[in-house]
Symmetry: C2
Subunit: 244 residues, 2 copies
DNA sequence: CTCGGATCGATACACTGTATCGGAACATAC
DNA sequence: GTATGTTCCGATACAGTGTATCGATCCGAG
């Protein structure tokens, strides 16, 4: 038995096996890339060890040489997406709001490119890979380097609040996008109360405010501006509550 | 073929089958209750149609008379939790912050009682059952009835922002709780950088701010006050951005 | 009492993640 | 070059999943 006395060993603790002259050269990153490809194309349900292996012309068990379990593969996928995020465009110095805005948008863009990403984020015990750590570092540093934030505890609180909003909002967006795609009905159509179930519910009179909001006219703001509006509000709140 | 021309039929569209003199009387709510019991006790992985059925002394296929698919069962579980939420303690009138705070805490309490709840929230196409609708109604009404909010579009924006934060924060909390339970390490121990993986990462020097935050001393605020602090900030932001 | 139609649930199927372990492929020793 | 020791690959197997199918069964109508 190998020394696995550290019960909390992480993926990133183990080296890849040496690239021996295998049938076809495999690697952790090729496996992760294949898995991401499948997830992007056909959703998370399409990511099974068998399918990932098949995409690499390998038997299912081949993968266990590089990855200890499916959960570990999922962790690696998440960290890979963090790694894809473009670096901050320019050191934004004292303007922490601009920095956080940039961070939020880069994460959101990635989450839209990989819709499964947001599902995996909070679900598993959430171990922080190197790229996720780098992402956290960027968020923390954006505040810590400014004169507005002098207490590290406040920096932490601010980043937690920020992250909670961003992930929550992205999740809601992605959920709505999926619902639209699944039902074929844009939210606008729900709004006109054309869905029989919803109409019947509203007819009970138990949801007057929902009805009012849903049937009010005025063009729907798109997802971008909705996200932006909420983000602005949250940054305002953070400024008031935690800064200076 | 029955009339299912409405391709978007929901669970709540179909009546329960009449309670015929079956071996043991089954019902949608008994099934949902059993599923929730399993999920609470042993996590979401323990919720399989076979196990739920077994808990009710029935064969797996019995359930399909009451529920069209497992996904539908999950939808019903979610709505059931919404239904468990205690009603607002008192009509809080003009004080929308108090109302939203109350809503947030009731949801958070429920999510802690049923840790699986938050996982299911954003995942599926997220169809709104009667109880979820009632919850949405309460949130919207809390703002709409005040003088601070005159534009329904602002009410909508405010509620979306609020919900995004609350769900995101709960998800983060639950994820941390799970991680603690899985690794046996409280966050405090991570903070002392006692985990070898983390220590090695920090030793690279690439995460100076993370290191600073993690190793600073000062007692950890508990989850309650962290949630509350973030919530306060977000409500502040909402007041500034969308109210009056 | 007989028959027709509805309904229930045992069986079956395709698929999942992963433990096991026979055998092949490699490195070493002579 | 051969024999031996060792490692590691991956085919097979297993227990579990969600659900389609359809024969057996039971109920009510005539």
């Amino acid at each position: 038995m190998r020394d696995d006395s550290d019960g909390n060993e992480l993926v990133w603790d183990r080296p890849e096996p040496p690239t021996r002259p295998a049938p076809t050269a495999l690697s952790r990153s090729r496996i992760v890339a294949a898995a991401i490809g499948l997830a992007d194309a056909d959703g998370m349900d399409a990511v099974s060890l068998r399918k990932v292996a098949a995409a690499l012309d390998a038997g299912p068990m081949r993968l266990y040489g590089y990855v200890a379990s499916k959960d570990e593969l999922l962790d690696l996928m998440v960290d890979e997406v963090y790694g894809e995020l473009p670096p901050p465009s320019e050191p934004s110095g004292e303007d922490w709001r601009a920095a956080l805005r940039s961070i939020a948008h880069r994460l959101r863009d990635a989450a839209h490119r990989h819709e499964w990403f947001i599902d995996l984020l909070g679900g598993r015990p959430h171990v922080r890979g190197p790229n996720a750590l780098a992402f956290l570092e960027e968020s923390l540093a954006a505040l810590d380097r400014t004169a507005d934030f002098t207490d590290v505890a406040d920096v932490m609180r601010a980043v937690r609040t920020f992250t909670a909003y961003v992930t929550g909002a992205i999740r809601a967006e992605v959920g709505e996008a999926r619902a639209e795609r699944a039902t074929g009905l844009a939210l606008a159509q729900w709004q006109r109360a054309s869905v029989p179930y919803l109409r019947r519910m509203l007819a009970t009179g138990r949801y007057p405010t929902v009805e009012k909001v849903i049937t009010h006219d005025g063009e729907e703001p798109d997802a971008d501006t909705t996200f932006e509006a909420g983000l602005g509000a949250v940054l305002d709140g953070i400024a008031h509550a935690f800064a200076r």
